[in-house]
Symmetry: C2
Subunit: 132 residues, 2 copies
DNA sequence: AACGTTATGTAATAATATAACATTTATAAG
DNA sequence: CTTATAAATGTTATATTATTACATAACGTT
């Protein structure tokens, strides 16, 4: 059972945009797209993004400085994220693989250290791009 | 046997700085530190960084926009990188764990897709910070 | 109503990274 | 040694990404 987050006005506008786009969006592209809805300044976007990331509705693709809606309904807290990124068409998808997440969540390094969060980004060519 | 890369003048200056520091350095901090050596513009730094990343002498910590010298002598091509990052003191260390790298290099997602590269960042508290 | 918390608005600025163009240096053939 | 090619450098300007600072408004709880 996951906590219900009542998004604020700006958060909802920005989440809906990202969610509908279905792909990673950059902050200033988001800004451009929501200006007609009254969101005029970068900070308004970044504040909403920060909150949405915090509650796991979106994730940041660190290598791309872009934000994508969570594609994994069970991933409501952004502590364990994994993505595949096509280096040709920049398609990104979230990987939800329970073995992988279990493996990484339980991973401890050579000094016995365990970690509370991780982010993994795989790079390669997606099927479309590979078959070209 | 790994390929010997003869670093150019700027590449060497910048690699030496990062390597000696032993911790992640940001591009403009690098710039500041090498200005006395004649490197005056951001682009000179970014070009050297790009090359050093390409040949695996340094890695970029994506979540921090920072660059760290490779701590793993066998990791001369930046295709499979893993780091642990302390969220309190920002200490970063490169993880070299053959099981982990084998697991991730061989990982294929639910559609059977395999990937040629990955970058993994673990977050948590380092031993020092945990014991405070 | 009073309070603390969360969200918003706005302007300015900081931090990170690239484009464009000219020149120089290194490497390798012929 | 000359020519060709690629790699690296120098320089200016600009683009992109993100935060600081401060003021105001809305929300949730008691
Ligand atoms: Zn998710
Ligand atoms: Zn693709
Ligand atoms: Zn390395
Ligand atoms: Zn620490």
């Amino acid at each position: 059972m996951q906590k219900e987050h009542n998004l604020s006005k700006n958060q909802k506008i920005i989440f809906d945009l990202i969610d509908k786009s279905g792909e990673p969006m950059k902050a200033y592209s988001i800004l451009f797209n929501v200006q007609k809805k009254g969101i005029k300044a970068p900070l308004q976007v970044y504040r909403a993004l920060d909150k949405l990331v915090e509650i796991g509705k979106i994730h940041k693709i660190e290598s791309r400085n872009a934000f994508i809606a969570c594609q994994n309904s069970s991933c409501q807290v952004s502590k364990a994220t994994a993505f595949s990124i096509c280096e040709s068409c920049e398609n990104v998808s979230e990987i939800s693989n329970s073995k992988l997440s279990k493996y990484l969540s339980n991973f401890s390094d050579d000094s016995g250290m365990k970690y509370s969060k991780y982010n993994l980004e795989f790079f390669g060519l997606c099927k479309k791009c590979k078959s070209k």
